[in-house]
Symmetry: C2
Subunit: 266 residues, 2 copies
Amino acid sequence: MGGSYAARLKELGYTVYGFDKDQQALDYALNNQMIDQSCLNPADLLGKCDLVIFCLYPTKIADWIKTNHNFFKKDVFLMEISGVKSSIVNELRQAADELSMVSVHPMCGRESKGIQFSSPEIFSGSNFIIIDDGSIPKGHIELSRMLAAEMGFGKISVLSADEHDRMIAFLSQLTHVIAVCLMNTHENSHLVEYTGDSFRDLTRIARINESMWPELFLLNKDILLEEIEAFEAAISHFKKALENNDRKEMSSLMVESTRRRELFDK
Amino acid sequence: MGGSYAARLKELGYTVYGFDKDQQALDYALNNQMIDQSCLNPADLLGKCDLVIFCLYPTKIADWIKTNHNFFKKDVFLMEISGVKSSIVNELRQAADELSMVSVHPMCGRESKGIQFSSPEIFSGSNFIIIDDGSIPKGHIELSRMLAAEMGFGKISVLSADEHDRMIAFLSQLTHVIAVCLMNTHENSHLVEYTGDSFRDLTRIARINESMWPELFLLNKDILLEEIEAFEAAISHFKKALENNDRKEMSSLMVESTRRRELFDK
């Protein structure tokens, strides 16, 4: 996400500094014109930044802010893009202290990790969520909204951290759990040559960043567990209908899923 | 499937007769140049057919063959395309009696039912399976293979009915059960505007023909129940890892799913 953000902002004409602890990633970004300057030591360039976008593992952000607090400009605008919110926003605002801080969620990304998979095009038409529990200054929301619009996001919404986390637990986290578990249901390499679109669609996201997602799941654990259990109940219900040869019940479950899915057609 | 088959065979230059009990469907096929002649009463045209392709609900085929047995040419070639095999092939061969009969599975289709959704293009590059438990004459297999190749299918394989049904239970039927159940997990119409590709991918096939699929599931009930239970076990295992804050186990499950999924990339 860091690489994609950098490339898109550079494309839009902004001066972009890349901060990373990995020199190779910085070199790649420089060589591919994704940033104007690279920076291993935040002290060197942080003071020149009007906007800092944190594309970091959620649990690493607060410490980074505290460690480098003295290097920020006083009127800097901090923006973090983590995939879960309730469990981190308070800690982050405390870490930011008097600095302006906003939590957003750009709902896009790539299955594969690493800067070589980044692209300035992933934002186009995607959903963008700004987190506000009622305490965020209107100006911050507007600034976030304007930047998102400029980057090409589609629908831009404002949600509370809890609303966001419930939505994400169902639409994103549960779907990833299902894809991983379907892929792991049993050995299946002998089936590759028979695979059609259905199985490919349901398992595309089973290629997953194994460092980031467990962290996101644990940060949203209670809500995600509720969603998994609701899904298990739905599977169990369907299985009973099949066991009982209850064609009518299976049929009405399909009528219901068809009706619901129609709303989600693009 | 009937409409798609007709349109593709017509495109290839064959003379195609459309048999259906629905006059409107026949009219549609005629008006759209998908068939050369339509036929409500099989007795009228069945005797002119060298090849009869049954695009019927699996449980209806045997009766249709018995009822119209006297109208077939003696050297006719019968081909049925049902999505499940073990539970029907013996009955079908008995019904066909001395006539040549082969069971195949063209692995393609549309989510929506009805002739207006048919298309001659759905076959291109798709998998095609010919069922042979060792008793099918080589000539029948070759004829099926040649027609499939001419229609544009990609990989053409021969499987036993049991191998086919196990493969289909996992790759197709289980995926449809999962999509239906995910869609039905709970009310979700308020989430439409936040939905990204993951959820759309996993629920695309939740739009489903509620008459045909319960029949296919029941015809493959025991194997499908085994697959559902294996998937439930995988979900339960993942849930336990999350409950126990076992980041390492979740991570290794993701490494495994990523490794397995790589094989399935097109």
